[in-house]
Amino acid sequence: MSRPGFVLEVDDRTPPLIVHSGEGFLLERFPLGTRVVYPPEALPPVRDVEEAIQNALLNPIDSEPLPELLTAGMRLTIAFDDISLPLPPMKKPDIRQRIIEAVLTMAADAGVDDVEIISANALHRRLTPNELRDIVGERVFRSFFPDGKLYNFDAEDRDNLTHLGQTRHGEDVEISKRAAESDLLVYVNVNLVAMDGGHKSTSIGLASYKSLKHHHNSHTMIHSRSFMDHKASKMHHSAWRMGEVLTQHVKVFQIETTLNNNVFGGPLEFLQKREWEWSLKDQASMLATKRGLAAAPAKLRHKIFTDVRASYELTGVNAGAIEPVHEKTLEVVHRQHLVEVQGQSDVGIIGVPYLGPYNVNSVMNPILAACMGLGYHFNAYRGNPIVRKDGAVILYHPVPYEFSQLHHPSYVDFFEEVLSESTDPATIEAKFEKQYAEDPWYIHLYRTSYAYHGVHPFYMWYWISHALDHCGDIVWVGANRKTVERMGFRSASTLQDALEMVSHSVGRSPSITYLHNPPHLLADVR
């Protein structure tokens, strides 16, 4: 039986606590009285994954069983969540592989020949063939990839996009032509956190810039409070409206999966245990890891973390109509991540880990670090943010000036050109977004190399707009001073310095909440 999450109040007996900080971690002593939000322990997995998948496909929610939807001569498209999920990537076999294999078996039994499999990467970078293979498995890859039947979605391929119409709010719904013209679209999702899944899967994952710009903008995102609660998120409202239009045109069979919190295994297992419960072995692992990382050259350290594969286990799989399936999914996600927190605090503390959705097999550049801390972890709440309005957020990350020219070419320009002029999301959006979105070089790299779309760094900045609007002060501990200054933040050497720096807005004895994340958690702030 796994234990639920809880809120620890730091007292004299509390040991130093783990704080993630990029490709490393710290052991930090927090001020007495600090609230530390621990995620629930990993939920028990389903006993038989294959059986669970079969059961979901044969007994779907508000839908005919999948075999009844499959007929010879039909056009079947299978879309799946791209490499941005789960984080870290899971050990093989990937849950998407298992589901896609099951769907393909049923399709073969029904005599379906016209099958295409699409990575729903929207404006994310294309996946390399190896990355596709890791997700769908060797068998599917070999059967579909060489014939061009397994591929990345290309949001800039005008000939292969279909405009399905507009929502009642005038939002364009433009998605993959193949998906739009299929007799059945099966979407295979990994619902790692509460913001994933639902109508967000298809109407975002397979959409073009023309469609995405209606909800990926500063106005919508500042009013998405939070992204982790689709009922209170304007972005999700828009995606849901688009989903209504989409499902009027396309029959979608949604398959959503949930994973438990088994993020770190092997020598890094101590990272998901509570510090006072560390065994001697855990303490030794922690010491060895800490010393080893400190001594390791940057490249080796990067490789160590890049190679981490999570031991995620399946906690649920639901299939059928999008909305009821997603409600079921959220129940499990909430059971795994929700932690009740009583009231907001003056200061929120967040350790930004080495990995976010957009730097898998890459580097976390300053904009992604900001997005991870202020976009994802800050928004990991339901109800109210953990920090009061005009409170302070203190983040841990080295924020090095480091960019991947391969994956994030427009990020470099965004950092140098756009942020040097303004850090205000609305100003940036008005002045620069179109230029970047239509830059032929970025489009070329997005389509032919492995680059995120030119507009993607803008979206990252919009992700943090709610935090920018809500917080009075944002300070990074241990960060490169120049890079955080460019982003409009401040840098401190230690937590004590950071608290000193924010004291003018929150006083000398602020209430503090530290989100002990990852493993993932969702603060249910009452």
Partner: protein, 398 residues
Amino acid sequence: MMLALEMYRSPAKYLAAKAVGGRIPGILTGPAAPLRLVTINEPKAEREGWARIRPILSGICGSDLGMVTGSTKLYFSAMVSMPFVPGHEIVGELLDDCEDLPKGTRVVMDSVLTCAARGVEPCEGCASGNTNRCDRITVGHVAPGLQTGFCQDTGGGWGNVMVAHRSQLYAVPDGMSDERAVLTEPLACAVHTALRAKVQPGQSILVSGAGAVGLFATLALRELTQAGRITVVAKHAKQRELARAFGASDVVAPDEVFRGVRRSTGAFRLKPEMAKEFLLGGVDIAVDAVGSKDSIDTVLRVTKAGGRVVLSGMPAAGSDLSPVWFRELELTGSYASARQEPNEQPAFETALELAAKAPLDGIVGARYPLYRWREAIDHAHSAGRLGTVKVAFDVRAS
């Protein structure tokens, strides 16, 4: 007799400066400098149209520094007469009447020693108003010298007295400060550069370098043409600030040129094997205002096919001309300034207009008496880093 700085022939010092000047900058203003402070006879203004001038301020130009550091090409050695008193960026006071200009008039000088100054029949260049293209710069009654400041007979601005021909002189308007007036010559060169660039309305321009040449070229391009986006490559903070004040749309650091130009023009960026990157696409016009191999390589590689590259700085050897061939670039030189520019007036008159209205206060950032010439040259060498655009000799204080 007068006090002057004199450039003299010394192959040994030339070679020493060339060999180690880059690594030991101190040697350039020390033992390796082919420059000396001397007391010499004043130059004489005996022919008609010539008059003596007492320089007030005399700027230190990049070409002057090039001679001291041995970086000037031997190509030019046939067009100078040693020893000579350098200094061609001057504002001075007439010591004699000079045709219509009475004694005491403050003047600036177009330093090119043309057919008119040399008393010979006008060559093709001079006859057409392109006086900077004069073919007679080594003949006539004046010793060889492409400009005043490189000629034995005329003296130069780095001395207490010099001579100039009426055709070279322009009266400084009343009310214009000496600090502005001394910038007229480099501004005239910038005017010439801007007009040589033949800018069409809305064209994008890159100016590589934000020393005096680059900044003034930026100013002239903005004031005299309908250029669209002007991107300036600037290394130092003060240069960046001034580039914007002079009309740059954006400013990039030298290591950001390819990124910045690519972004602003939507070009494609390619990285060849073991060679410097380049753009397919890029700016319509690039102006090199540095003259270094690196700067010239850069402007050639960020100019779009069929575009124009204007060499405003004295060019170094060794640049890769592949883009000129492959991208069919138009390579244009820009030397000094002409009496008849495409805007139908002498570049100096346009320059005086610019000098009167442009934000040039503080551009002459340091003034030294002649006897502190080593410090002055040192300062001019590091002007960009020290936040100075123009260093000048305060000749009257000498």
